[in-house]
């Protein structure tokens, strides 16, 4: 049963996955090309000076891409389910409701994780090709919350979509927006690029917890609790 669910989700989301993956790949490759081009026109020690002391974030183009990806993926995955109440049928299959919801959401999370992993690998390879390992450490701490924001956007959008009461939907959406927004804190010129250096684990914990929101929305949806 669950395998069939995996297969159904795969059929539904594969083109979304390809489209989102392509956008991510293009932006990540753009980061490499931009930096490679900069290194050809500006001396390496000057570029490094800007990276270390002027907080030149050569990878800043990727900043909002994971969050946008999560948002779009959730919309593409759940819109067909909610039109004509298809999800209601799914939730009445002879399998536990929470297992079905968890599986559905896990598929999305894994597909997004695969895309984000490729993004990160490109950023890591780009950084290590041009800069010492210290810059790689700083880059990792800086981009981590941006990828967390991708998962948060996905989980929260899914929960807001499946929710049937508009009041709750608005509360979930606003709270989710505040969470995603908080994950972009502190990245600005001279404000500190590694703003989450001491709080990345807390951010990861809060984002993981948003996985559970869909169970609340799903419960309301199946029973029509407004």
């Amino acid at each position: 049963m669950l395998f069939a669910l995996w297969y159904k989700e795969w059929l539904k989301t594969k083109w979304t996955l390809v489209a989102i993956g392509a956008i991510n790949l293009l932006v990540a490759a753009g980061v490499y090309l931009d930096l490679a081009n900069t290194m050809k026109t500006v001396e390496a020690n000057v570029v490094l000076m800007n990276v270390v002391f002027k907080e030149y974030l050569y990878y800043v183009d990727i900043k909002y891409i994971p969050a946008l990806s999560g948002l779009i993926y959730a919309v593409m995955q759940f819109t067909p389910e909610l039109s004509q109440s298809r999800l209601k049928l799914t939730l009445h299959l002879p399998a536990p409701e929470q297992k079905i919801l968890a599986t559905t959401q896990l598929i999305g999370a894994l597909e997004l994780a695969a895309i984000f992993a490729i993004d990160y690998l490109i950023l890591a390879a780009t950084t290590l090709a041009f800069f010492p390992v210290e810059v790689f450490d700083s880059m990792t701490v800086t981009v981590a919350p941006w990828f967390f924001a991708g998962f948060a956007a996905y989980f929260v959008t899914a929960a807001a979509f499946v929710e049937i009461s508009w009041t709750r939907r608005v509360v979930i959406a606003l709270t989710g927006y505040a969470l995603v927004d908080a994950l972009f804190l502190g990245v600005s010129f001279n404000a500190g690029n590694d703003a989450f250096a001491h709080a990345w684990w807390a951010a990861a914990l809060v984002v993981s917890a948003t996985f559970l929101l869909l169970f609340v929305s799903g419960f309301h949806y199946k029973r029509g609790i407004v």
């Binding site: 020690n45 000076m49 270390v52 810059v135 505040a178 807390a202 917890a209 609340v216």
Partner: protein, 411 residues
């Protein structure tokens, strides 16, 4: 079932957390006007502090004893700041306190240092350029390599991105010989080429001792500052000045502040009182006659006038209105039982900063609980389910009330 319960708790917690961050934020955007911060300069003409307090609605000029001065008075009271203007108006005195007022000498003696909590807390990417200090060139050049002081000294060639082995070994040996304990902690310096010459860097070793490292004609010159055992440095700011009287200032874990002098790295403690680098900003301005230090706290600005022998001449302090001294602050305390911020001015890093309100918040907290009680009664919820919601509304006030209103079956 348990997952749904957990999900509901997470939702309630997130709503409270982000409401407690967002609502006060919106409130302060609407009702906060920054206070006027005074800055005190020790004036050689008035022989007292000349104080300037500016804001969007005009600037005040005064001394500790008298107020109502104007901008022209202030300009003449701080000749070391305004000497170019005074020269053009022919108002610069010939001598002050027996020292001839020569514009070049004034310029060469002027300097500033600033220490802010966020400067001390900020950890930069641990790489730095070690300039060639005796290149024989007039201008400093950016070196082609970057230095790291970890388990040993390593120079990484920026363009090739590889370690330059020979130079790394040479500097590692020089540091080890001087008694440097690897791995190194932070390194401080003036990492730009816009300075008259290069005075090297100050590196803190594993035992919190400070070493001065200079590169001269490719060779390392390393000196142990031999700082006292009871001093743990947390921050060093350096400034290359033609004066060559001091390298910079050093701040200790215990908030003592020292000048690092050229005279065998002797540390000269500044006669300050009440400075705490964790919360206060320090701004130091030096001129041909005095050093004036302003310490800016949340609720007070104090100033210390120090002569060139680093003896205290005069001190002044003035209380400052905080936002909770005003009506808007009291209203905020009444509205919100607590406020959460993820970023503060004193810390470059995201963290969790909660501020609890005073007892005045209890009014709205109680009211929230009463409202929650009637909301549940109207819904016909049994007390068993209503109790946690009412408790949440009481403990978190308006933030909890959002949860009660938005999640009908919150239990």
């Amino acid at each position: 079932m348990i997952l749904r319960r957990l999900g509901k708790t997470v939702l309630a917690a997130l709503v409270v957390l982000f409401a407690a961050a967002a609502l006060p934020d919106i409130y302060w955007e609407l009702f906060y006007t920054p206070p006027k911060e005074p800055r005190a300069f020790y004036s050689p003409t008035v022989n007292d502090f000349a104080i300037i307090k500016g804001g969007v609605d005009g600037t005040l000029y005064y001394t500790p004893d008298e107020d109502g001065f104007d901008g022209d008075w202030f300009e003449e009271a701080v000749p070391f700041l305004t000497y170019r203007q005074l020269v053009s108006e022919g108002k610069l005195p010939d001598t002050l306190h027996g020292v001839a007022m020569d514009p070049k000498a004034i310029r060469d003696n002027n300097f500033t240092f600033a220490v802010k909590p966020r400067y001390v807390r900020k950890e930069l990417i641990p790489l730095f350029p070690l300039f060639e200090s005796q290149s024989g060139r007039v201008r400093l050049d950016m070196p082609e390599d970057y230095c790291r002081i970890a388990d040993r000294v390593e120079f990484v060639h920026a363009a090739r991105n590889e370690v330059i082995e020979e130079k790394s070994v040479k500097f590692t040996e020089a540091l080890a010989e001087a008694g440097f304990a690897f791995p190194g902690k932070r390194t401080f310096g003036n990492f730009n080429t816009r300075k008259p010459f290069d005075a090297g860097v100050f590196a803190v070793d594993a035992d919190d001792k400070v070493f001065h490292i200079i590169q001269a004609k490719g060779e390392p010159i390393v000196a142990d500052l031999k700082i006292p055992d009871d001093l743990t440095p947390v921050y060093i700011a350096t400034r290359e000045m033609e004066l060559r009287e001091f390298y910079g200032i050093l701040v200790g874990e215990d908030s003592r502040v020292f000048m690092i002098s050229y005279d065998d790295y002797k540390l000269i403690e500044l006669p300050l009182e009440g400075f705490n680098w964790r919360t206060d900003e320090l701004s130091m301005r030096g001129d041909i006659l005095f050093r004036t230090v302003n310490i800016i706290k949340k609720d007070e600005v104090s100033a210390f006038a120090i002569d060139r022998d680093y003896e205290l001449i005069d001190a002044y302090s003035e209380p400052m209105e905080t936002k909770y001294d005003r009506a808007s602050g009291t209203v905020a305390e009444a509205l919100f039982p607590f406020q959460i911020r993820f970023l503060t001015a004193n810390d470059p890093y995201v963290g969790f900063h909660a501020r609890l309100s005073g007892p005045i918040a209890l009014i709205l907290m109680t009211l929230s609980a009463v409202v929650a009680f009637f909301v549940y009664r109207k819904r016909g919820a049994p007390m068993k389910y209503a109790a946690p919601g009412i408790a949440l509304a009481f403990l978190t006030g308006v933030f909890g009330l959002i949860v009660v209103a938005a999640i009908p079956d919150f239990e």
